[in-house]
């Protein structure tokens, strides 16, 4: 499933769009950057509550797209960094558990 299809199906807000037609290969939920660096599989959608600039940097490094959960808004410098590094940033008002469940129901699985 592509990011675009997921965004449309689940009503995700697109805050920074680069590769919406990319196939998403999995998803990962974490709020610790070190955990994401160590464990998230490249190509995944990263569900997080963190909204600072290093989120975009870590996403770029690990080739992830970001989904901010629970109505979180990105800090301005996070969006700036996301655009600089061509990172897609999505947002949802749903809590992380809810959105993870819906992504799972839509056919997405954990990282490869």
């Amino acid at each position: 499933m592509t990011l675009r299809a997921l965004a449309e199906t689940l009503g995700l807000e697109v805050l920074s769009a680069w590769d919406l037609d990319r196939e998403v290969t999995g998803a990962y939920v974490a709020d610790l950057l070190s955990d994401v660096l160590a464990h998230a599989a490249p190509g995944s959608l990263w569900i997080t509550l963190q909204t600072h600039a290093n989120v975009a940097a870590v996403a770029a490094l690990k080739e992830l797209s970001v989904l901010l959960a629970n109505g979180r808004r990105p800090d301005p410098d996070m969006l700036e960094r996301a655009r600089e590094h061509k990172v897609t940033v999505l947002a949802t008002g749903l809590p992380a558990f809810e959105i993870a469940g819906r992504l799972y129901a839509a056919g997405l699985r954990g990282g490869n």
């Binding site: 610790l32 660096l37 290093n54 590094h85």
Partner: protein, 252 residues
């Protein structure tokens, strides 16, 4: 006794997120122009540029404390300051023993090692933006064992701030003080975090660029300026005290 103005949280060009203009002589010139008596060099997870800043300060009258801003396993920033360079480097060795990853400068930024003449000596290869494997209490304990001071940096900030990130003050964490975010008032902070009533509140700049140096500072009332005197002032011992500039309140 006199009041010494100190900005003990200043980054150099070694921090990947800092301005490349943050070179030793530039930092010292700016700190002196701001009327500071002391600065603390606090790069992320490294003290490597601190000696150069200390050498650049010779003859300026400015005291430079060597230290670093450690990212704990919980991803909380602890500002660690030392009276001796050897202690700062012992802390660095401890932190970097468990600091995984290599920097990707195009993503996180350059990590420039410089001397006091502003020659580039090299680039730090470790991922200084990352977190060490040591927990908060392990970090604070080690800072104290090495004779240093440990503050929760930008304690109320959600990104990497102790209280903003964890939502509580961990019991038994032997901090020497809490650094407030620039826009938080002391009164507001005390209301929001009553469990921190015992801890002194401090203000430093967390400068990442030259113009930010000294935008916040804390006054220390002391007979002479050294780390042991700072420790006494934080405890309000023997007539010493601190004065955060925004609030102008003495702690005795």
């Amino acid at each position: 006794m006199r009041v010494w103005r100190a900005d003990l949280h200043v980054h150099t060009c070694l921090s990947p997120c800092a301005d490349l203009a943050m070179a030793p002589r530039t930092i010292i010139a700016r700190a002196a122009a701001r009327g500071l008596d002391a600065i603390g060099v606090a790069d992320h997870n490294s003290a490597a540029n601190a000696p150069a800043v200390q050498r650049a300060a010779r003859g300026s009258g400015l005291t430079v404390f060597a230290g670093m801003e450690v990212t704990s396993r919980e991803e909380v920033h602890i500002l660690a300051l030392f009276g001796a360079l050897e202690a700062a480097f012992a802390m660095q060795e401890f932190v970097q023993r468990r600091l995984p990853g290599r920097n990707r400068p195009e993503i996180f930024g350059l990590q420039v090692l410089v001397n006091e003449e502003h020659d580039v000596l090299g680039f730090e290869p470790r991922l200084l933006a990352g977190a060490t494997g040591w927990s908060l209490s392990e970090v604070v304990e080690r800072v104290h064992r090495l004779g240093g001071l440990a503050f929760a940096a930008h304690a109320d900030r959600e990104a990497f701030g102790l209280l903003g990130h964890l939502g509580l003050l961990p019991r038994g964490l032997a901090l020497d003080g809490l650094e407030l975010s620039p826009n938080t008032s002391e009164a507001e902070f005390r209301r929001r975090w009553p469990e921190c009533a015992e801890l002194p509140l401090l203000r430093f700049s967390d400068a990442h660029s030259p113009e930010q140096i000294g935008r916040a500072a804390t006054g220390f009332r002391l007979p002479e300026l050294n780390l042991e005197e700072l420790r006494k002032a934080l405890r309000g011992a023997e007539g010493r005290g601190i004065l955060t500039e925004a609030a102008s309140l003495w702690k005795n």
